[in-house]
């Protein structure tokens, strides 16, 4: 793996109060690659993902140690707002703002005072989220009138509009129907050209389809990490094999 890495986790331990949720994880997120994080429910996937952009700061009992390196600096010692500006996040359930489609997209750049042409930004963001053609005539309608799948793509567009370096996605398709899911998967495929992506998913086929690398977690530990093809065709660990063949999980 002589790829360029954008984020490196070193000996990361995460706690909620007394309870440890993630144990001594070492994981690299590679540049312009899609890294899938898989594992049974409750194994700490979301916990780790949210730590990458400091979204766990909002959980009162949360604490962690170790190092998460991003662009030569420790995320834990950086300004959380700056971290979140550069590392975007798409949530499990689409959460568009109750504003127009247009305003959903420009809200982020606007609060950061990005000097750009908003019309162009809206178009390019919507295009890269494969939503432009569907909404170009109703940019000023409420985002809440969109379908669930469209809303999720809008959330991706909103994230892309910030021009982050990394995009984190926590089960972005779990609230969507199969067709919308396929669209988002295609979208992820395209986004990798410009962004580095980490995606949590419960869907094995999805991980196999969209990701370049796969990390398998079990009870808070990183069990196996490697090229997706390798993990799926030839897992080294018994537990990985059991999980991806559906023997537990």
């Amino acid at each position: 793996m002589n790829q360029e890495t954008v984020m490196t986790c070193r000996n990361v331990n995460i706690f909620y109060g007394e309870k440890q949720a993630v144990f001594d994880v070492n994981l690299d997120i590679l540049k312009n690659k899609v890294t899938a994080i898989i594992g049974p429910s409750g194994c700490g996937k979301s916990t780790l993902l949210r730590s990458l952009n400091r979204m766990n700061d909002f959980v009162p009992s949360f604490s962690m140690n170790g190092e998460i390196n991003f662009d030569g600096r420790d995320v834990l010692k950086s300004d959380p707002m700056e971290v979140r500006t550069r590392i975007g996040m798409v949530f499990q359930k689409p959460n568009p703002f109750p504003k127009s489609i247009y305003n959903n997209i420009i809200w982020g750049p606007k609060i950061h005072g990005h000097k750009v042409n908003y019309d162009e930004l809206v178009e390019s963001s919507l295009r890269s989220a494969a939503l432009w053609d569907e909404v170009k005539d109703r940019l000023h309608d409420s985002a809440l009138d969109l379908s669930g799948g469209q809303q999720q793509r809008l959330c991706i567009a909103r994230t892309v509009a910030m021009k982050p370096e990394v995009i984190l996605m926590d089960e972005p398709c779990s609230a969507l129907d199969p067709r919308s899911t396929i669209r988002i998967e295609d979208l992820i495929n395209d986004l990798r050209e410009e962004y580095s992506i980490a995606i949590v998913t419960h869907n094995m086929q999805q991980a196999a389809r969209v990701s370049d690398y796969t990390a398998f977690f079990y009870e808070g530990e990183l069990i196996e990490y490697g090229v997706t093809d390798g993990i799926f065709t030839n897992p080294k660990e018994k537990r990985t094999e059991d999980y991806i063949t559906g023997r537990f999980g």
Partner: protein
Amino acid sequence: MIDKFKSRKRTEKIFRAACFGLTFFSVLILVVLLFHITMTGHKYLSWEFLTNWPSRFPHKAGIKAGIWGTIWLISITACISIPIGVLSALFLEEYKIRGKLGKVIEINVANLAGVPSIVYGLLGLTIFVRYCGFDRSLLSGAMTLSLLIMPVIIVSSREAIKAVPDAIRFGAYALGASKYQVVFGHVLPIALPGILTGVILALSRAIGETAPLIIIGALTYISYTPESVMDEFTVLPLQIYNWASRPNEEFHYLAAGGIIVLLAVMMSMNFIAVMIRQRASKKVKL
């Protein structure tokens, strides 16, 4: 099986009838009341009634002073209580104070909403009228009423703020927003219709308040319109109270007339508020 459904349907029917009956009953009471007031009060309802000063002679008496006093008093009260109340609610809800202190504040605010208004009158008399030396001015009255309705505004605004989904907050934070940007860019606009509802209810309570204003010494005989917040004043309910407590029957008709006007003012306020609410909710439909 079928029997079960039948009995369920019957229960449903009975329940619906009961609900309808009770609704009808309360509306009926309201209608009777309104009818009675209109019958007694219409005699004096005229343009002169609205533009005359109070007088010893019933046919010459009017409520101009009361109307202007109420408008002034409620405007000042709104200017004081809305910003403080809403910001307090935002502070308590968004900048959560944890632990004991937070709990104590929470319980206290909730309890304050239930304190009898006359107690606030005494508080206002001691602090604003005497200690601060504002006398029996509009300012004293407005500050007293603000104390009275602020807990209501805080409690209802907090409910509205609590109802804003966390997913929205997290979505905004994930774009690198600061707390201030999240609160003023999303939470407040989304909570606004709910906040307005609470504010309207609180202000219409303030409009009808009499007791605390009597305590702080608002007058009933005023023959000028206020020009500054330091002027003495009267308000509609005080005027009504004064007339209703006189032995002369004619004054009771005047009181009824005043009640009609007071009701009209409250209803138009509510109407305006509902309009604002609807427009706001259209903008931030959720």
